[in-house]
Structure formats: structure tokens, C-alpha cells
Subunit: 309 residues, 2 copies
């Protein structure tokens, strides 16, 4: 059983109000009043699972907050506050100083405040719960893709996955790859700008195809994606040319870029966003009525998506 | 450095609005609009630290939600939703079934909904973040005790601590003690009823004196407590008589009863609450202008409070 089946089977109680949303999207949505909803998301990072042993406290802090902000971004929510549950094997002052100061810098950058937490002793693990607000009914949902929508991805993908692959092979990734892996930039500004422009949206944390697959499943549609249009940086491109290992791009995860679908009539608005935010947005395919993902391009290697269990 | 100093030093950024409250109380308070505040609290339970290895999934689920609801109770907030970060060493269907069904029963009982979560693989650990709402400015704060207030404790204390002591000594606690330790009842109804009646309030999670001490420190006051008035059940009473080990009552923790202070003019209202909720409330002392805790009664053994590091 993978993580999604597990959550669906044991923890999806489906007892929320009709406007609200529980398990099954990047964030939960809870109505606070007639005008506003709370968007909230929780993620745990464990040493040896989500980051290699020896990762600096600063990189861990960055990643922990960034991956959670990325979930808010995927809903179009504005960050408001977060809580921190920190489990440490021992009290280490320089570790805590590094961790807390990086956390604070990133929190200030994204205008989100740490309001509470818990510290415990045990194997190194960091759980953050971030909360944002969004106007009632305006969140970008996984379930809102329509056949005919154009599919976009922000910036480039596969960088973090290639870094992780190299680390596992005891190679040293380039600084650029390592930066993508250790200090990803959550696309909060883009997410907020996409409200009213994109239909469905998700952040790429488990791999492009798996995450796009969540949109397709929830929206009851399919997709055709053109491999040649997937935005890859030079290192990833040359790695794939050499190895034909497309998995770093399609199933790699950890990029925290946004994948979203836009109706044809909103493409002009999207161009304006791209220009305003000075961000690269690549059209990689279209939403189709046929279920599943159809891959167009020179590709025949099978990719397994990451399974938590 | 203990947990409180650690949080104060590294994570108390003090950058909230003046009406709001970050680290330093049972919950954080964040204003959502002019009428409402969000009260939010996070707690981590780790196997071997917060519950013994071999504790049933059902008891773990109960405790995890109960201790967090207890933090809402201590602020007088009404439970609304919670998130769950669950770290499991392996996929175990019967464990998950037990865990999720108990969690659901307790959540229904307290009218709180699970809205999101994360599951990861690793040493068994459960982090819950509960969120409630409270009318703007009405939360029961640690900082609101006044000299002359009467100090109360709900039900009895020391039961959970005695159970834990016996477990550590390889003894088998009675069913009643075990029930207090494994399935504490958060005093949510009492907490809500105390809004407008109590001044300061806290839940007893780390031990009566340590938790009362938080109220005293934040309120810049002291307390005189009468040991003979501390509500103890028969087992705890006879254990203390035999061993003179007052620590189970004063420094034991894990009772999740409320300790609160009430101004003399509100004592009649408190009597009405006691009657309505059919709950035992014991007056154990008074808030004083002199700092520190003065113990009245037959007691000379020193108790160390629980330190996280």
C-alpha cells in the first residue's frame, strides 16, 4: 500500500462542510467565515529519508519551510503562520543557531510567522505545519482541470532528483544541482498570481508524472505530454542523453516547481504573469478526455514512482 | 538548557501583532479577523519517550489527540480541525486500523475534524497540530493571574505519573492508573466554560508546580499552595504516605487536568460551572504578590521537574 492509498483508507473521514476540503489536495481548506478559508499543510522531513545524514542545519531548515510553503503555493494561498515540531537527538547549540536563523530569514522573505512548536528528543525529524489564507472558493484545486487546458511547468525540473541520484551513488553534485536539492524556492508568488487564471495546480514534490497524475485522477481527465517540451537544465539534459534515464525528470520529485493547467482563454493572462514575475513557464502538453498520461517523444524506459512504503 | 529556554532563545521571534500570541502559552493565538482568533498547538509523541514501547495503537491515538485538545482547553478555545504527521517504522494494517478508528471516535466526541497529514517511514512518532477558534481577546492566558486569585485544579492529579513510575519499575499499574496515563480526558468543556470566569489557565502536562510556575512567571506573581488540598485519588495518596514521594503529585505531569486562577468575585460562577459540568474542582491555594511557590503542609523532599534535554 502506498502513502496515498493508506491516507485514503484510514484517514479520509470525509466529514467536512461542502465548501471545505480535507485530505487529497496540497492543503486542506477550512472555512473560517463567509469570506475566507484557511489553507493548511503539514510535512515531515526525516534524516536519511528526506535529506542525507550530514545535511547542514541551515539546509534542513530551508527545505522544511520551503516544501510546506510550496503546498500553499500550489493552492494559491497567502502564507500566514506556521508551527514547528522539532525532534533532536541531542542539544546542539550551533545546530540550533544555524537552523533557527535560516528558518527566520526564509520566514521573513515569505512573510510567514512561527507561532508555536514542540521540541522533543529522538531521531532527527522536522514537522512543519504551515497555514495560509485564501478568499472563499478561490483556491487552485487538483480537481479543476478541464479537457483542452494547456499544461505548464515553472522553471526546470529534474535538478533535485539528479542531485539525489548522484549523492546516492557517492558522487558530488554540482553546486547548482545541490542548491535545487537543498534550498528549493517555493513558488508562492506564482501560486498567488495563478488564482483566477489557472484551473488546476499542484507542486512537483513526488515527480512530474505522479503529481500531474493526482490532478488527472481528481479531475477525471487525462493528459498528453511532450517530452521534448519538458524544461530541463543543461546538466539534466546531458545526463538523460547519456543514460536515457528519463526518470529524473518524470518521477524524480523534490523540485517544488508548480505544474498547472490553464484554459485557452486565459493564456494571455498567463503571458502577463510570466513577464511580471520574470519566471520561465513551459507548456508541456494538454489535458485530454482520454484517461492516463500519453507520452509523446523519444522515450521507452519505464519509470517507477517513489513509494513511501 | 531545558525545552523552554531553548524555545525562548532560538524560536521566539516576537514578530506578531499586538493582539496575537506566539510561543509561550498553551496555544498560539493568531487574529483571523476583528472577531475571531485562531488558537493552535502542536505536540509530538515519540515511542520510548512519551509512551512506552508496546503501547497499543489505540492508546497512542487517544493520547496524541487528547494532549493537544488539552492545550486548546487551557486557552478556552473551541476545537475545530487538526492535522496529523505520522512516522511509522513499517506498514502495519492492524496498527493503522486501531490507530485511525480510535482517533476518529475521539475526534467525533470533541467535534474536531482531521483535515490533512503526512505519513513517513521512520521511528514511531506522532505529531498533531490542533486548531480551534476563540472570540477575539477572550482566550485564557498564562499571563492573566492576579494576586488574590484562588487557584484550582480539576479532578485529581498524580495518577498518570504514578502509572509511569510503576511501568519504569517493571510493575503493573492498576487499570484506573493506566487509564489516566494512556487515555487522559482533555478538559475541553471546562476550558470553554472558564472563559470570562477564570483569569489564568494552563493544563498540567509537565507537573503541577512546573505548569503553575509558567502562570506565575508570565503573570509576575507567586503562589501559596496547600499540599493537603491537592486532589489525589486513593492509590496516589497511599503511595505518597508510604514513600513520601510527593513528586508524583507535584512534578509528575501527564494528567492533562486544568490548573487555573479565579478572582474572588467569580467564585460563585465557578460553583455553577462545577455543578453544571458535574466536575470536581479543588481549591489548592492562592496567587500571591511574593514570587515563587510557597508550599504549606508536611513536605520536605525536593522534586526535580521533568527536563526535555
Amino acid at each position: 500500500m502506498n502513502e496515498f492509498d493508506l491516507i485514503e483508507k484510514y484517514f479520509n473521514w470525509k466529514n467536512l462542510n461542502s465548501n471545505d476540503l480535507g485530505i487529497g489536495d496540497d492543503c486542506a481548506l477550512v472555512s473560517i467565515d463567509a469570506h475566507q478559508q484557511i489553507a493548511t499543510s503539514v510535512d515531515t522531513l526525516i534524516e536519511g529519508v528526506h535529506f542525507p545524514k550530514g545535511t547542514s542545519a541551515s539546509d534542513i531548515a530551508h527545505k522544511a519551510l520551503a516544501v510546506n510553503l510550496s503546498d500553499l503555493a500550489a493552492m494559491g494561498a497567502t502564507p500566514k503562520y506556521f508551527t514547528l515540531a522539532l525532534t533532536l537527538p541531542e542539544f546542539d547549540e550551533s545546530w540550533l543557531l544555524d537552523f533557527s536563523s535560516t528558518l527566520r530569514v526564509l520566514a521573513n522573505q515569505y512573510q510567514i510567522t512561527l507561532v508555536g512548536g514542540d521540541t522533543t528528543k529522538g531521531a532527527l525529524s522536522i514537522t512543519l505545519n504551515v497555514t495560509g489564507t485564501i478568499s472563499q472558493g478561490r483556491a487552485l484545486l487538483r480537481s479543476a482541470a478541464q479537457a483542452g487546458d494547456h499544461i505548464f511547468v515553472s522553471n526546470s525540473i529534474g535538478d533535485a532528483a539528479l542531485a539525489w541520484r548522484q549523492i546516492q551513488q557517492k558522487l558530488t553534485p554540482s553546486d547548482q544541482l545541490l542548491q535545487h536539492f537543498n534550498t528549493p524556492n517555493p513558488q508562492v508568488e506564482l501560486g498567488c498570481a495563478l488564482v483566477g487564471v489557472a484551473n488546476a495546480c499542484i507542486d512537483i514534490s513526488d515527480g512530474l508524472e505522479q503529481d500531474l497524475g493526482h490532478i488527472l485522477k481528481r479531475s477525471n481527465v487525462g493528459a498528453r505530454i511532450d517530452l521534448s517540451q519538458i524544461p530541463l537544465n543543461k546538466e539534466v539534459q546531458s545526463y538523460i542523453q547519456k543514460t536515457q534515464d528519463w526518470c529524473v525528470a518524470l518521477a524524480g520529485g523534490d523540485d517544488y516547481e508548480l505544474c498547472f493547467s490553464v484554459a485557452p482563454e486565459n493564456l494571455e493572462k498567463l503571458k502577463a504573469i510570466e513577464k511580471n514575475l520574470k519566471i520561465k513557464l513551459s507548456e508541456i502538453g494538454v489535458i485530454t478526455q482520454n484517461k492516463g498520461i500519453e507520452r509523446v517523444g523519444d522515450f521507452d524506459k519505464k519509470c517507477q514512482s517513489y513509494q513511501h512504503f
